[in-house]
C-alpha cells in the first residue's frame, strides 16, 4: 500500500530580519512521516509545538516569513508521486479541493461573511465537478442530506448558523468533491463536547465511505484515542514518537507521550495530576541534543549531546529517545 502523503526530512523555518538582527524559528525541524490509503493519521502535541506550522507546510499554505528550507512533501493520488513544492501553479490549483482538501481551525470565520453558503460551494467545489448545473446541485444537496444538513443551509449567511452547524457545513464543503486526502486542523476545538462527538462521528463516517486518508491535528488526546488509526507526537517541531494509536496508548515509549496520556482524566482515578516542569522550548533557540531533555524525568547525559533519531523499536512503532531504545521491549 503506497503512501498517499510522504514527508521526507521536512524543514520549515520562520526567518525574520529586524534592525539588522536575523532570527530563525525552527517550526518544523526534520520531520519524516507517511500516511497510507484509507487511514486516519493523528498529530498530537501541545500549543506552540509546531504542529500548525507542520500541517500548513504539508498543505503548501505557508507564507513568508515561513519558508521551506529543506526536505520534501510528496503526494500520490493514484497516478504517481508528485512533489508538492515543485508543482506548477495550475497543477496545484487542479489538485486543491479535488484531491487535497483542508478543514481549517476555527469555523468562526472561514466562510466569506458577506456571501451565502451556496457561493462557497460554487467557488470551491463547482470547478472540480463535471456535469450540468442541475447535476451539480443535485450532488451537493445529496451530500448535505447525507450529512444530515438541510439544503436550506445553502441560502444562509455564515453568521446565521450556529458554531456547530458552521463546522458541519465546512466539513461538507471539504468533502463534497470526495478528495483522497483531507487535512483537518483542530476541527473540534472550538465546539462543546456534545457537538464535538457528532462532528467526529461525521468525519469518521465520511472517511470510511470515501476510503480517503486524513491527517487529523489536535492537542486533545482523547479525540486521538477515539478517532485515529495511527498517531504521531510532535514536540518542539520534531516528531518524537509514531505508531498505531492502540500501540502508542498501550505502550508509550517516549516520556513526553507518557505524560500526555497520563494527563487524560479517567473515571475513578483520584490521583492528583502532575504538570511537567519547565515550559516548551523557544524554537528560535532550542536546547541542544534532544529538545525535551530539560523537562524529561529520564534524561541521561547523551540526551544533552545528540539529537536522537527516530528508531523503530517495534513493527510500525518509532520513537526518538535513547532511553527508550535501550530498554527491553515488552512484546
Amino acid at each position: 500500500m503506497s503512501a498517499v502523503l510522504s514527508a521526507q526530512g521536512l524543514r520549515a523555518y520562520y526567518r525574520v530580519q529586524a534592525f539588522g538582527v536575523t532570527r530563525e524559528v525552527r517550526a518544523v525541524d526534520d520531520v519524516t512521516l507517511a500516511v497510507g490509503q484509507n487511514e486516519i493519521y493523528g498529530i498530537a502535541g501541545e500549543s506552540s509545538s509546531g504542529k500548525s506550522s507542520l500541517i500548513k507546510t504539508l498543505a503548501r499554505a505557508i507564507r513568508p516569513p515561513l519558508e521551506v528550507v529543506g526536505g520534501s512533501v510528496t503526494y500520490d493520488f493514484g497516478d504517481g508521486p508528485q512533489d508538492l513544492y515543485a508543482m506548477a501553479p495550475d497543477r496545484l490549483a487542479a489538485i486543491r479541493w479535488r484531491n487535497l482538501s483542508y478543514i481549517m481551525q476555527g469555523s468562526m470565520s472561514v466562510l466569506n461573511p458577506v456571501r451565502r453558503i451556496r457561493r462557497a460551494f460554487a467557488d470551491f467545489a463547482r470547478p472540480h465537478m463535471e456535469g450540468s448545473r442541475a447535476e451539480y446541485e443535485e450532488r451537493v444537496e445529496a451530500h448535505l442530506a447525507h450529512l444530515q444538513l438541510s439544503p436550506s443551509v445553502l441560502d444562509a449567511f455564515p453568521h446565521e448558523l450556529s458554531g456547530g452547524m458552521r463546522q458541519r457545513v465546512t466539513i461538507a464543503l471539504a468533502t463534497v468533491c470526495r478528495p483522497r486526502f483531507i487535512i483537518a486542523d483542530e476541527p473540534t476545538t472550538a465546539l462543546d463536547v456534545i457537538v464535538q462527538k457528532d462532528v467526529l462521528a461525521m468525519l469518521r463516517r465520511i472517511q470510511q465511505e470515501m476510503a480517503s486518508s486524513m491527517l487529523f491535528v489536535t492537542h486533545d488526546m482523547a479525540v486521538h484515542a477515539h478517532l485515529t488509526d495511527r498517531l504521531g507526537i510532535i514536540y518542539a517541531g520534531r516528531l518524537v514518537e509514531e505508531g498505531a494509536t492502540r500501540d502508542v496508548f498501550r505502550t508509550p515509549l517516549h516520556p513526553y507521550t507518557s505524560h500526555l496520556i497520563a494527563s487524560l482524566p479517567r473515571i475513578g482515578d483520584v490521583a492528583p495530576k502532575q504538570g511537567l516542569p519547565g515550559r516548551p522550548p523557544n524554537l528560535a533557540d532550542p536546547p541542544p541534543g534532544c529538545r525535551f531533555h530539560p523537562r524529561c524525568p529520564l534524561a541521561i547525559p547523551v540526551c544533552r549531546e545528540q539529537s536522537p533519531p527516530l528508531e523503530a523499536l517495534a513493527p510500525g512503532h518509532r520513537v526518538a529517545c535513547p532511553v527508550a531504545s535501550r530498554m527491553p521491549q515488552a512484546a
Binding site: R96, F124, S150, V153, D198
Partner: protein, 358 residues
C-alpha cells in the same frame, strides 16, 4: 458503532432547534429605527444650534440687516416693514422667547424663511431650490467618482503590494489629500484659468445658451462642471485610497481569504468576491460619516468656480447681509446632509448582511 449513530446524533440535533433552518433576519426594523432616531437627533440638535447662534449676540441682527438693506437705497417703507416683520417672526427679537422658539420651528418645518433681502421679493426657499440641484449634482458626480475610483485603486494597491504604478498612485493621492479643498480648487483655477485656459472657470453652463436637452448644451454643462468635479475628486480620492488599501491589507490575512486560497479558488475571484467585497462595507460606513465634510468641501469649491450652487449662494448672502438667506441655507444644509446620511445608512444592509440580523 454506526447502528447507534442515529440516536446519538438526535440529542445534539435537538439541542440546535434551527438545525438546517436560519436564525435572525427580523431585526432590520430595529436597525432602521436606530438610523431614523439618529436622523431626528441630528436635525433637532443642528437646528437648535442654528437658533442658538441667531440669538448669540446682543446686537439685533434684524436691525443690522434692515439698515444694511436700506443703505442700498430705494426700498419702499412698506417693503421695509414687511421685511422687519418677517425677520422678526422668523428669528427676531420681538415677543416672548418661548413663542419665538416655536415660531422658528414652525417656519423651518414648512421651509418658509421669508423673502430674500438681496433678491427681494423672491422667497429664500425659491433661491435655495434653484441652487440646491446644482450642488446635489456636483456632489453626486464627484463623490461617486472619488469614492469608486479611490476604493478601486486603493484595493488593488493593497492586494498587489509590489506594483510600482499603484505605489506611485498612492503617493500622489497622499500628497493631495491633506491640502484643504479651497487651496486645491484655487490651484486648479490658476492652472486651468490662467496658465492653460482650456476649461471654463465659472458658471454651470455657457451664459449665452438656453437650457435644453441638446448635445451642445449637455457638452457645455459637462465642460463647466469639469473643474469643480476634478477639484473635488482630487481632494477626496486620497482618503478613500488609503482607507481601502489598509483594509485590504488586513483582509488578505483573514481566515476566509486564506481558506479560499487553500481551496484553489482563482486569485481574481478571491480579489473581487472575498477581499474587495468585504472591504467595501466599512467604506460605505465611512462614506456616511464623511458626507458632512464632503458637503463642506463642495460648497467651498463652488465659491471658487462660481458654480451656482448652495455654496456660492451662501457666500454671496453673507456679503450682501442677507440674513434670511444665510439662515435658510444653513438649515437646508443640515437637513439635506442628514437625509443623505440616512439614505446611505438605509442602503448599508444590502452590502453587509450581518447587519440585517441586528
Amino acid at each position: 458503532m454506526s447502528a447507534s449513530l442515529p440516536t446519538e446524533q438526535a440529542p445534539a440535533l435537538a439541542a440546535e432547534p434551527e438545525a438546517g433552518a436560519r436564525r435572525g433576519g427580523g431585526s432590520y426594523g430595529a436597525y432602521l429605527g436606530k438610523r431614523l432616531l439618529q436622523f431626528v437627533a441630528v436635525v433637532f440638535i443642528g437646528i437648535n444650534i442654528t437658533y442658538a447662534i441667531t440669538h448669540a449676540t446682543p446686537i439685533d441682527p434684524v436691525e443690522q440687516t434692515i439698515s444694511a438693506a436700506t443703505s442700498f437705497g430705494s426700498t419702499s417703507p412698506e417693503a421695509i416693514a414687511t421685511m422687519r416683520e418677517a425677520l422678526r417672526a422668523l428669528y427676531g427679537t420681538g415677543g416672548n422667547p418661548v413663542g419665538q422658539y416655536f415660531a422658528f420651528w414652525r417656519r423651518v418645518a414648512v421651509g418658509d424663511f421669508g423673502p430674500s433681502l438681496s433678491a427681494f421679493p423672491t422667497p429664500v426657499s425659491v433661491l435655495i431650490g434653484r441652487a440646491l440641484p446644482w450642488t446635489a449634482g456636483l456632489l453626486l458626480v464627484s463623490t461617486s467618482l472619488s469614492w469608486a475610483l479611490g476604493n478601486l485603486l486603493g484595493g488593488l494597491a493593497g492586494y498587489y503590494r509590489r506594483s510600482v504604478s499603484l505605489k506611485a498612485a498612492g503617493i500622489l493621492a497622499m500628497a493631495v489629500h491633506p491640502i484643504p479643498y479651497y487651496i486645491t480648487a484655487f490651484v486648479l483655477l490658476i492652472l486651468f484659468g490662467y496658465v492653460w485656459p482650456v476649461l471654463p472657470i465659472s458658471d454651470a453652463y455657457d451664459p449665452g445658451m438656453v437650457p435644453a436637452f441638446t448635445p451642445a448644451f449637455l457638452l457645455s454643462l459637462a465642460q463647466h462642471a469639469a473643474l469643480p468635479v476634478l477639484s473635488l475628486v482630487l481632494a477626496g480620492l486620497g482618503g478613500w485610497f488609503m482607507g481601502m488599501r489598509s483594509l485590504v491589507s488586513n483582509i488578505v490575512s483573514e481566515d476566509y481569504t486564506l481558506y479560499a486560497e487553500l481551496a484553489g479558488v482563482k486569485p481574481r475571484k478571491i480579489l473581487w468576491s472575498y477581499v474587495m467585497r468585504n472591504a467595501v462595507a466599512p467604506q460605505v460606513t465611512g462614506l456616511a460619516m464623511s458626507l458632512g465634510a464632503i458637503f463642506n468641501g463642495a460648497i467651498i469649491t463652488e465659491q471658487v468656480f462660481g458654480y451656482p450652487g448652495v455654496g456660492s449662494l451662501l457666500v454671496a448672502a453673507v456679503h450682501s447681509g442677507d440674513y434670511s438667506l444665510v439662515i435658510g441655507v444653513t438649515t437646508v444644509s443640515i437637513v439635506a446632509v442628514s437625509a443623505a446620511v440616512l439614505l446611505v445608512d438605509v442602503l448599508y444592509p444590502l452590502i453587509d448582511p450581518r447587519v440585517r440580523a441586528g
